[in-house]
Symmetry: C2
Subunit: 228 residues, 2 copies
DNA sequence: TGAGCGGAAATTGTATACGATCTGCTGCAA
DNA sequence: TTGCAGCAGATCGTATACAATTTCCGCTCA
């Protein structure tokens, strides 16, 4: 009996680990995810890795080019705008629904969540802080009890992470945690109007912290074109 | 040389054909999609079929149960509501954007589209008519030039097809095409307010034509429980 | 020196093989 | 007759093998 029969990890676990790494910016947009390399790292066959990569492609986190391989998606400026456009359609009204339905337990969970965010920030673990910050938005969708919308928001938050990696203005300053606190207060108070408005403002503020101007002409754009 | 080297169809084409069949209600929700059977039909290996089924699973059209196989998804009543909830978040404001951006060519395409819908109805081809009716909504999203939102709407329209197969009240009456005509008029006139309002009303009307009451108690519920 | 052109190495795409799990039948015992 | 154990068939999950494509390096020749 040379090797273990059962694989060390399932395809889903591979997706989780890769996704987490991208969310925490340990893997940059544009990075190549070679099948051989990944399968070596996780100790599984390429079959599972391919499944995982295909799965992530559907979430928009990975782009697969035929006969060339899988890469962490590099959203264009247009796609970046679209992501926040879509979020602004879904999240404010989802926050409203959450405010109407949040239980005492939900509030406690969110408080705990925010505490973890702060802890990560204090530890200067910006990657983790960013990931948790995204999870906060998903958590609100879950409270709203809209699984379908929740899945969409999860995708959008995921892609937002890529957008932030590429277009964030101040590399050190992370999404102001005040916004999350304010949202939590609105949820606690059951103030639906306030929650909707805060979420709308929060998303707008996030978008404003991105540098989404088209890179103008000049030598830079040429190099970009060559580097693809 | 016994068989052709290249596969007759790619994974994506398999997805297309299966998806179309489900959209046209030629395959019912709950139907099993056996890997062997599908691979025989299309003349490809199970590898590609598995890829295709996994892909459809992400779109929500197929549900895969471990070691049991793939089935056309049977949305629950809750999921059915969620689908229309999500559509009501996305589509009205997308219709507004479409009204603001529609070109003369876009309008012409939509007119052609609606003509096809009518033709299918006249031919009593309800399956095709239903599919085209869904495509109309996707076409509007495309005009709005929001690819991200368009993808979500495509998924939702797709799931709506399953919901309709399961919960539609009048099996013969198809979605009133008047609504699509009215929408087209609003787009042609560039009346954004009107387009948004019409889409909202259209979705509400669709939802109302569904029978989403919980099956009450009694012997029926017992049998339902046993039948799944 | 630099452009053009093999050709080998690396990487992905597809098919097949084998093992694990589930399903349903058959037979035996209570 | 009923219930359960066990075996056979079917189906899915994973790994491996092979084919197709791309990439990259070095060579030649202008």
């Amino acid at each position: 009996m040379p090797t273990t029969k059962a694989p060390l990890l399932s395809a889903h676990e591979i997706v989780s680990q890769l996704t987490e790494a991208v969310h925490e910016h340990r893997i940059q947009p544009g990075a190549k995810l070679s099948e051989d390399e990944v399968s070596d790292i996780f100790g599984v066959s390429r079959t599972l890795v391919r499944q995982a990569l295909r799965s992530m492609e559907h979430g928009g986190l990975v782009t697969i080019e035929r006969n060339r391989g899988a890469f962490v998606t590099k959203p264009t400026i247009t796609e970046a705008r679209e992501v926040f456009e879509a979020r602004s359609l879904l999240e404010p009204r989802t926050a409203r629904a959450a405010a109407e339905r949040a239980t005492r337990q939900d509030i406690a969970d969110l408080e705990c969540h925010i505490a973890n965010e702060h802890a990560a920030l204090d530890r200067k673990d910006l990657g983790l802080a960013l990931k948790l910050s995204g999870d906060f938005h998903v958590a609100i969708a879950r409270i709203a009890e809209q699984r379908t919308v929740e899945d969409f928001i999860r995708q959008l938050v995921s892609r937002s992470s890529l957008v932030i990696a590429l277009y964030w203005r101040h590399r050190d300053a992370v999404c102001e945690e005040d916004a999350h606190h304010a949202l939590l207060d609105a949820l606690r108070a059951g103030d639906a109007d306030q929650a909707e408005e805060l979420m709308k403002a929060h998303l707008r503020s996030l978008l404003l912290q991105l540098d989404l101007r088209e890179r103008p002409e000049g030598p830079v754009s040429l190099r970009d074109a060559l580097l693809r």
